[in-house]
């Protein structure tokens, strides 16, 4: 018996904001806190909470530094984060492929 693809979803990654953070970090390679905040439309506190969850899970690395006099926080995807993102995308595609034939089939 094969398990339903929903069982393969990781609760940490299968969350709209955290999936967005991983997607942006993957494409950008290195992304700054303010870019994530503005692009995802979050408050700084809310974003920090999500980043904390991802960092604790080892999916991202956070680096703090300065650009001139401005404090900057940079986020990069770890190898585990890359694998988790790829797995989540694959599971989502699998879920959609299971849903669509049932939804589009004629009655």
């Amino acid at each position: 018996m094969t398990s339903h693809p929903a069982n393969g979803l990781d609760d940490i990654v299968h969350q709209r904001v955290r999936l967005g953070i991983l997607t942006i970090a993957h494409e950008a390679r290195r992304v700054e806190f303010s870019y994530l905040r503005d692009t995802l439309g979050l408050t700084a506190g809310n974003l920090s909470q999500h980043l904390g969850v991802l960092e604790t899970a080892g999916l991202i690395a956070i680096e703090k530094g300065y650009a001139g006099k401005r404090a900057r926080t940079w986020v990069t995807l770890t190898k585990a984060g890359q694998a988790a993102l790829e797995d989540e995308i694959a599971q989502l595609k699998l879920l959609i492929s299971r849903i669509e034939p049932a939804g589009t089939s004629p009655s």
């Binding site: 967005g20 992304v31 503005d38 595609k93």
Partner: protein, 227 residues
């Protein structure tokens, strides 16, 4: 600017389309295609005066009944690699500065590395060929004259930039540009690399870079800061 509406909902289709929209948004923020095109257009046009220096490097060799000679202005041999390495350094600095200002990483490194390697490899190959003129007759003179062109090296590096930026429009431009370079090099060969041959080989490819750069500048509108 936010994409909160574009990335909302927990439906798998919405999540997947949201990730695609975010990917597109990051790529739009990262791209600055207009800058390398305009810099390389300037480098290409600035090469023209160096062609008319009176000195020539090269040698002659006899093969059977034919005598094959090579000649190339040493000023161009110094100009092209120097100008291209400097240009790629300026492009790298521009992308890095822009990346820091916008808060997203840059994918320029493979392009800059490929551009510098191609410029230096082109110089080494050109110098070797100048002192081994029989190589022309073995592989065909047209092949060597067309591939021994710095604009050709610029075009190959642009293909790398198109791959790095995941930029289909730039890939189309780079392939069109390479075609123009090969065609104009053939015209230059037919006209015997005379007073008209070199400007044709340089002005037309340079114009393609210039027009492409202006086109991308208008499309990417860097003065309108992306989120």
């Amino acid at each position: 600017m936010t994409s909160g509406t574009a990335f909302s909902g927990d439906d798998p289709r919405q999540l997947l389309s949201g990730t695609r929209e975010l990917t597109r948004q990051v790529r739009r923020t990262q791209r600055a295609t207009w800058f390398p095109l305009l810099v390389l257009a300037a480098v290409t046009f600035a090469a023209i005066p160096f062609r008319y220096s009176p000195h020539r490097l090269g040698t002659c060799a006899a093969t059977g009944l034919a005598r094959v000679c090579t000649a190339y202005p040493p000023a161009l041999l110094v100009y092209w690699p120097t100008a291209l390495v400097l240009a790629y350094a300026v492009i790298a600095a521009f992308y890095i500065r822009r990346s820091q200002a916008r808060g997203v990483g840059t994918r320029v490194r493979p392009y800059v590395v490929a551009g510098i390697i191609l410029a230096l490899a082109m110089t080494g190959s050109l110098v070797w060929t100048l002192y081994h003129p029989l190589a022309f007759t073995l592989a065909g003179p047209d092949l060597f004259s067309e591939l021994h062109s710095y604009p050709f090296a610029i075009g190959l590096a642009l293909v790398v930039l198109a791959w790095a930026e995941r930029n289909g429009a730039l890939l189309a431009l780079a392939l069109g540009y390479l075609t123009v370079v090969l065609v104009t090099a053939t015209v230059g060969s037919v006209s015997g690399h005379g007073w008209l041959g070199f400007p044709v080989q340089v002005v037309i490819p340079g114009s393609v870079l210039l027009l492409g750069g202006i086109g991308f500048l208008l499309a990417q509108r860097p003065w309108r800061r992306a989120a």
